[in-house]
Structure formats: structure tokens, C-alpha cells
């Protein structure tokens, strides 16, 4: 008996998501604490002359933040989605292997040493990468006695807590009037200091990272089954895991070094995209990227527009995202 046929294409839904993202970017350009008339933003972008303050605001404040939010959201979601696949567990986030704790420590170190706005992300990035490299190497040592994935996760937990403690040490060493609040604010997440030059620097790693995962997205489906099944179907599981971990780590370290620690996005956005387009990574990865970018854009726009005081991103993501997520879960009877 024949039935079904090809699974229904989700491409249309995904296309809508990307279109919504672009529309949101255009709208976000018009929003901000400083009053800018409707025609100005797009006019300024596309070359019109306008007063220098507005020009400055559009190019040096809003545009970098918008692009930054898009890069951060898409990187974290792609990393989270791919980790959930290769670790065969929908409850993992991009910080599983310690990249966030490492970057957090690096940033705190940079703040204590007062290396300035260029040095801090650089040190954060290095330590983010370093933490994961350490996990990778250390896990190999204990992998003999247990399976590879378990050893990675375990080592990740240990190294993460090591760097978290070192971060606390930095807080203790730092000047309580200036360094401590600076570290605290950094850890809560903010795109307030982002410049166009930062965008240039991180867009490379993010695009390459997402590209690498995009190239192997189909194979990640197979990785969600047991190691043996995946290997028997022809997947070099170790190599694929390595590619995904490297791509995710580079992406995540880049964005975290600029925006601070932002949780929730990498964990929950992939769930939401699976709820909408299904678990096949050929659909859920693009959807995660689009939704993550869109979500982060909304969050950052709220953070910089709602009140005179700037709200921290890491707090908003959970506060705004969680009710929305619960609503989705209740509304659909779908599983993730």
C-alpha cells in the first residue's frame, strides 16, 4: 500500500521567517531612545545626506547593535541546535563544553587589567576557545574508560566550574567600586558598546561557523541515534563531532566576547524551531538561525528602547522568552 510520499516541504515557513527577520531589522532601525523621523533611517543607510548626529546614531549605534543582535542570536541558536543533535540530548546548550565560563573569566581578567574595549573581547575569545580546547584534550584522557560523549560532558562540567571559580576570584581581586560592577554588567549581557568594527571582526567566524554546520546539517540527523547506528550508516562520528564542536565553539566564543553571557537562546530557540518545522535538521537548522536572530533582535531593541535605563540582555531573554515558550508548549501538543 502506498501512502504519503515526500514529507511536506517546510521551505515556505522558513522563507517567511527570514523575511520577517529582514523586516524586523528594518523596523529596528527606526526604534531607539533618540527621536529620528521615519524617513531618515533608511534614507541615511542608502546614502542620503542628513545631520551628523542622526548619521552617527544610525551607523554607529543602531546598525551595529542590530547586526550584532542578529549575529549573536543566529550563532547561539545554531550552536545550540547542533549540540543538541550531536550530544543526542535536547537539553544541552552551547555552553556545555565551557565556552561561556571561559569567555566570562577572560572578560573579567581583561576588565581587571583594564585593557580597554579592544582587549577585553580578545581575551574573552581566547579563553572561550581555550576552555573548550582544554575540555577536548582532558576528555580524551578519561575517554578510555567511558564513552566519548559522556567524557566530554563530564569534563565540560568540571572545566566550566573551574572557570566560574576563577571568575569569582577576579571579582574578589578587582576594585569594588569600578571593576566589580563592570564585571557584573558584562556577565549580564549587553550590546551597548558594539561598533561596526566589532561586527566586521565577528561576522567572519559566525558566518563560517554557521556555514560549516549548515554543510553537515543532514548528517546531524543521523548523529542523534546511537553511536553504533550512526557509524553503521557510514558516519565518521568522531570527525563530525569535532567539526560541530569547533564550529560552534568559534562562533559562540566570538559572540560571547562581544555581547557577554546570554543564556536561554541556545537552549530554547532550537526547541521552538523544531516545534514549528519538525526535527529534520535541514529544516530546523535554518529555522533556528532565523528565529534566533529575530528573537535576539527583539530583545536587544527592547533593552535599548523600553526605558531610559538599559536592561541587561541575559535577563530579558529568559523573562520575555519563557512565557512565550510555555504558551507554545501548551498550544501545540507537539513534542520537541
Amino acid at each position: 500500500m502506498k501512502a504519503g510520499g515526500l514529507p511536506r516541504s517546510k521551505n515556505r515557513i522558513i522563507a517567511v521567517m527570514f523575511i520577517a527577520l529582514i523586516a524586523a531589522m528594518a523596523i529596528a532601525l527606526h526604534l531607539g531612545r533618540y527621536p529620528v523621523s521615519i524617513s531618515k533611517p533608511l534614507g541615511t543607510i542608502f546614502g542620503g545626506r542628513s545631520d551628523t548626529t542622526i548619521h552617527s546614531i544610525i551607523f554607529n549605534v543602531r546598525l551595529p547593535r542590530i547586526l550584532g543582535a542578529v549575529l549573536v542570536g543566529s550563532a547561539l541558536s545554531a550552536a545550540g541546535a547542533s549540540y543538541q543533535g550531536i550530544f543526542k540530548n535536547p537539553m544541552v546548550s552551547p555552553s556545555l563544553l565551557g565556552v561561556s565560563s571561559g569567555a566570562g573569566f577572560g572578560a573579567a581578567l581583561g576588565i581587571i587589567l583594564h585593557v580597554g574595549s579592544v582587549g577585553i573581547p580578545a581575551i574573552a575569545f581566547m579563553f572561550g576557545l581555550g576552555a573548550v580546547a582544554l575540555v577536548y584534550v582532558a576528555s580524551r584522557l578519561i575517554a578510555v574508560k567511558m564513552d566519548r560523549i559522556l567524557s566530554l560532558v563530564l569534563t565540560g562540567i568540571v572545566i566550566s566550574s573551574l572557570f566560574t571559580s576563577l571568575l569569582s576570584l577576579m571579582k574578589y581581586i578587582g576594585d569594588p567600586y569600578d571593576d566589580l560592577p563592570a564585571i557584573t554588567f558584562w556577565m549580564m549581557g549587553s550590546l551597548a558598546d558594539i561598533k561596526l568594527s566589532d561586527i566586521l571582526v565577528i561576522s567572519g567566524p559566525v558566518i563560517i561557523g554557521i556555514g560549516a554546520i549548515w554543510a553537515v546539517k543532514w548528517r546531524i540527523n543521523i548523529m542523534t541515534f546511537s553511536e553504533e547506528e550512526a557509524m553503521s550508516m557510514g558516519i565518521e562520528t568522531g570527525r563530525l563531532r569535532g567539526i560541530v564542536i569547533i564550529a560552534s565553539t568559534v562562533m559562540t566564543a566570538s559572540v560571547v566576547s562581544i555581547s557577554g553571557v546570554i543564556s536561554w537562546v541556545g537552549l530554547v530557540i532550537p526547541h521552538i524551531s523544531r516545534m514549528i518545522v519538525g526535527p529534520d535538521y535541514r529544516n530546523s537548522l535554518p529555522a533556528s538561525v532565523a528565529l534566533g536572530a529575530l528573537f535576539m533582535l527583539v530583545i536587544d531593541t527592547v533593552a535599548r528602547t523600553a526605558f531610559p535605563a538599559q536592561l541587561p540582555l541575559g535577563i530579558l531573554t529568559a523573562i520575555i522568552g519563557t512565557p512565550f515558550f510555555i504558551y507554545l508548549m501548551i498550544k501545540g501538543k507537539k513534542s520537541w
Partner: protein, 372 residues
């Protein structure tokens, strides 16, 4: 297997003991003073410390030892006040000083140990370490004494087993605070001098600020941290000096009255007439550089006209953090910066303040440098 785990446990136990032994023997080596150009004339009075004080400024009954020779300031404000009044009774500081700050402190006191805070912002002190110095009393100065402050003081008193004396010391009552502390420590005369200086400055500032019409008030944005995008919102006690000198804190927080972050667009909307940069740490000038050179900041009139002022911070911050008696000179400085036609201020004021309060004789150049 059993033997192995026993060995491991033994090693761990040894580690724990080794660490605690090490910790006990580390001492704060006396820090060296950098430049002896500050002549040191600590004020001394032949002490006849018969204290007539029976309760503190929070109304808490006190049972004080006689004499009171060794005093520990539990927070930055109290220690600084103590230093200005009776430095010979100090046991130590709360925070470590930078080398530059030490230049303005008398050498013999600059090298006192850094004990940490038992209250307020700063690194937590080790109770046993404090008690080793056998303080007679512990001071706790707060800008506003509330029930919580009283409760904290009671708790601290129980913890240390030493009387804790609460002082209410704010920008509007330093005279009373000094009088009280003077009576407590048997330094009434010196206290009178300090209180007198303060009263004169305060009265002057109050009078002049009241005469500034609303439409003439200077609107100020207070910039903190390396990017200058952290501020104290309107209503925050940390920025009250602005109010005092007749300026307006532009940072309307929409209900928030403490410190917090803003984004640059918001600063542009506020259009401050002047920017006050107040950082304490080692690279405090990073914010000043950012504000005066960044493209977006340059759209501000305040930046274009050069109305960006770094708060002087030696030996302690003159504006805030900590909100100490240094604000006495701070309010004069601030008034002058914002309203040069209304307030008078010059190196002589700095010199007399430093002479009286810190026993530090400054040269003209040093005074000018400090006053920015």
C-alpha cells in the same frame, strides 16, 4: 583499593592544613610611600581621652572602654573620617591605595595595614585578623541611619565583641558628625576646626546654589566605568553633590533611583550641558578618552565645548565612592567647574583643605594638578 583511597584522603587533609597554615602567616607587608614631597604634620593633641559619650548617633546605648586608643573603621567613610580627626588611633585602612594616592597621605599612616571592610563596599575583613589588633571601638559611618543600619551595627557588635559606634555622616551634617566623633575620641578641639571649615563651605555652597535660577541650572551627565555608559540615576544619593551645588542630574531613570547602565542614544536625548567622569580605578581615564574622542559622543555639545570634567580622586574620590568627607572640597570644586562665575575656588582652597584635614602640605603645582 582501600589503601589507595586512604592515601588520597590523607593527602587531601594535608593540603587543607597546609593552606590554612600558609594563610595565617601571610602578612601585609608595609607599603612604601612614593614621594615624600607631602610634608607630614599629623595633628596631635595631648590626649586625655575621658569620653563623655553614652550613646551613638543612632541612639544606641554605648558601653565604652577607657581610654580609646585603638579604633577600627568598619567602612571606608568611617575610616576616612577617623583619619582626618585622629589618625594616631587608626589601626588600618579598608582599601588598598594606589601609589599615587599615597603621596597625599602622611607616611606613617599610609603604611598601616589594609584590613578590609566589615561593612559596606569593599573586601571582606577577616574577623580574627581585626581582633588581633585589639580595637577599643569600631566605627560605622553611614550617610543615612536607618533601622537596618542599626540592626547591622548590633549584629557586628555581637560578632566582634567590641562596641560598634554608628555615625551619621552626610553632606548636610558633617559638623555634627565631627562634633560627635571629637567627643568620642577626646579630640574636641580638632573636631571643632574641621566642623567649622565644613560649615563655612556648606553654608556658602547652599546659599549660592539657592540663588541659581532653574533655567540657569547646568544639566550634568555623570559618566562611570570604562565606556562612560554607567551612571547614577536622578534621585540616587551617590550623585547628590550635583543637587547640592545647584546642578541637575539629567539621568531620569523612569523610576530607578540607583546606578545603572544606559545606551548612548539616551545620553544624546538628554543633551547634558556638562559631563562628569567619575572613576576610581587604575585606568580611570579610559572613560574620559572614550568620551572625548568617540564619534558618537562628539555629537554632544558638552563634548564639543570641552565641558567634560574628570572628578579628582586623590587621596579619595571627591564626589562619590566612597561618599566621604572628601566631598567637602569636592562640592567647592564641582560648583566652580559648573558655575565658574558663581563659586570661587582655587589652589588655595585645596591647600587649606589638605592641610587641615590630611595634615598634608601641598605645593602650588600639586594643588593645581589635583584640582584639575
Amino acid at each position: 583499593m582501600n589503601k589507595k583511597s586512604m592515601v588520597i584522603i590523607l593527602i587531601m587533609v594535608c593540603f587543607v592544613f597546609a593552606f590554612s597554615a600558609c594563610a595565617q602567616s601571610t602578612d601585609d607587608a608595609p607599603e612604601e610611600s612614593v614621594s615624600p614631597s607631602a610634608a607630614t604634620t599629623p595633628s596631635t593633641e595631648d590626649a586625655s581621652p575621658v569620653t563623655k559619650v553614652t550613646e551613638d548617633m543612632a541612639g544606641r546605648p554605648l558601653d565604652l572602654p577607657e581610654p580609646i586608643d585603638k579604633v577600627y573603621g568598619s567602612n571606608n567613610n568611617s575610616t576616612i573620617m577617623l583619619y582626618t580627626l585622629a589618625p594616631e588611633k587608626m589601626l588600618g585602612w579598608n582599601l588598598k591605595f594606589s601609589d599615587q594616592a599615597k603621596k597625599y597621605l602622611a607616611e606613617e599612616y599610609a603604611s598601616l595595614p589594609v584590613l578590609g571592610n566589615m561593612y559596606g563596599t569593599g573586601k571582606k575583613a577577616n574577623t580574627e585578623e581585626i581582633l588581633k589588633y585589639e580595637p577599643d571601638v569600631v566605627l560605622l559611618a553611614h550617610t543615612k541611619v536607618t533601622d537596618k543600619v542599626k540592626a547591622d551595627a548590633d549584629e557586628l557588635q555581637v560578632k566582634l565583641g567590641v562596641p560598634v559606634v554608628v555615625i551619621e555622616a552626610n553632606v548636610d551634617n558633617y559638623d555634627k558628625a565631627y562634633e560627635f566623633l571629637g567627643a568620642l575620641l577626646g579630640r574636641e578641639e580638632k573636631a571643632k576646626e574641621l566642623a567649622g571649615y565644613y560649615s563655612a563651605v556648606y553654608a556658602e555652597v547652599k546659599e549660592k546654589s539657592e540663588n541659581i535660577a532653574d533655567e540657569d541650572k547646568v544639566r550634568v551627565y555623570y559618566a562611570r566605568l570604562d565606556d562612560g555608559l554607567t551612571t547614577e540615576f536622578l534621585g540616587s544619593p551617590n550623585a547628590e553633590l550635583l543637587d547640592l551645588v545647584g546642578a541637575v542630574n539629567v539621568a531620569e531613570g523612569g523610576g530607578k533611583e540607583t546606578g545603572g547602565e544606559v545606551n548612548i542614544e539616551q545620553v544624546l536625548v538628554w543633551k547634558p550641558d556638562a559631563i562628569l567622569v567619575g572613576n576610581v580605578g587604575a585606568n580611570a581615564s579610559l572613560a574620559y578618552q572614550t568620551i572625548t574622542t568617540d564619534e558618537v559622543w562628539s555629537s554632544l555639545g558638552a563634548v564639543q565645548q570641552g565641558a567634560v570634567y574628570e572628578v579628582p580622586r586623590f587621596p579619595f574620590n571627591w564626589f562619590d565612592r566612597p561618599p566621604s568627607v572628601n566631598r567637602i572640597i569636592g562640592m567647592k570644586w564641582l560648583g566652580y567647574k559648573l558655575y565658574p562665575d558663581v563659586y570661587d575656588f582655587g589652589p588655595e582652597d585645596v591647600k587649606s583643605f589638605f592641610e587641615l584635614f590630611y595634615g598634608c602640605a601641598l605645593s602650588d603645582e600639586q594643588a593645581a594638578e589635583l584640582a584639575g
